[in-house]
Amino acid sequence: MSEATAPAPARPDPAGEHHPALQHHFADLDQQREAASLGMWVFIAQEVLFFGGLFAAYAVYRSQYPAAFSAGSHHLSWKIGFANTLVLIGSSLTMALAVHSAAIGKKKRIVAFLLATVLLGGVFLGVKYLEYGEKIRPCLGDGPYAGCLVPGERFDASAVHLQGDEGRHAQIYFSLYFGMTGLHALHMIIGIPIILGIAFLASRGRYSPEYHSPVEIVGLYWHFVDIIWIFLFPLLYLIGAH
């Protein structure tokens, strides 16, 4: 952190003291950017623990019911999960390139890469919608609910080749599946309009190499959501040998 008083010659501000984006309570743009990104990191630290509760629940139940978790996992399509993982990693790449474009002042590319990120995020959510639908649709209507994988009375344990207690334990697996992937998807649903808003501001020429903290910060958020999926994919789709 910079020493607040006295113009600091060690950290010259390329845009001079009166850059329009510099807020008065910061000494210079560097300090402003560091404060902004540190704030986002603290938010992410809190998010780690927010998801952490679900990961802890997963660890407890998987250690107690390994067979039910393995059976539930085998019902998911690893191919779909694999493809979706690549899509999400791709969206992280386009997001990193959007931040990079902002840092080197390629204003049109910021918008293009942000829109590419939204597009890939949309593909991911679309695939997730199809995956959910396949599990939820059999639970609707008057029955016989064959293939229903929503935990509850209509849950069809025979769909994962289990019965009795193990069938009930598989419901815990699917509760965690919907809870964890659902919370992850909710983060993406929140992130997409924010990215679109920042893309709009970028298209108005709001960001420059000196000031592009919003692009950087939404990037941090998006990469964090990517990291959550990096753990969800093997933990939910790839339990045991396939």
């Binding site: 780690v48 623990l49 952490g52 694999f82 993982t85 990079h100 040998a241």
Partner: protein, 97 residues
């Protein structure tokens, strides 16, 4: 003090390809049964991928030390949350009544 380092585009593409390769590896290893090491291998690959994302996509490697402190404290509390919870559960009779 941190410089606002700009990585070349090639670096991002390299990280992207490494993440793709690790995703292929994490799927490919499920063809083999390592017994209790299945989970360790899966988590090892995932932690490697997450580390690449944090260091390069999120620029943690080029960020102020304070960012590293926040990341480390976040991980420390996550470990406390999961590890201490598990010590409790594995040392009690199951199912809980």
């Amino acid at each position: 003090m941190s410089q606002h380092r700009v990585l070349p585009v090639k670096a991002y593409l390299g990280i992207f390809l490494a993440l793709c390769a690790l995703t292929v590896i994490t799927v490919a290893v499920t063809g083999y049964d390592f017994g209790p090491f299945n989970l360790i291998v899966a988590l090892g690959v995932a932690i490697t991928k997450a580390t690449l994302v944090v260091l390069y996509f999120m620029h943690a490697r080029y960020s102020p030390k304070l960012t590293g402190v926040v990341i480390a404290s976040s991980l420390a509390f996550f470990v406390i949350l999961v590890f201490l919870t598990l010590t409790d559960y594995v040392s009690r009779p199951w199912p809980l009544s």
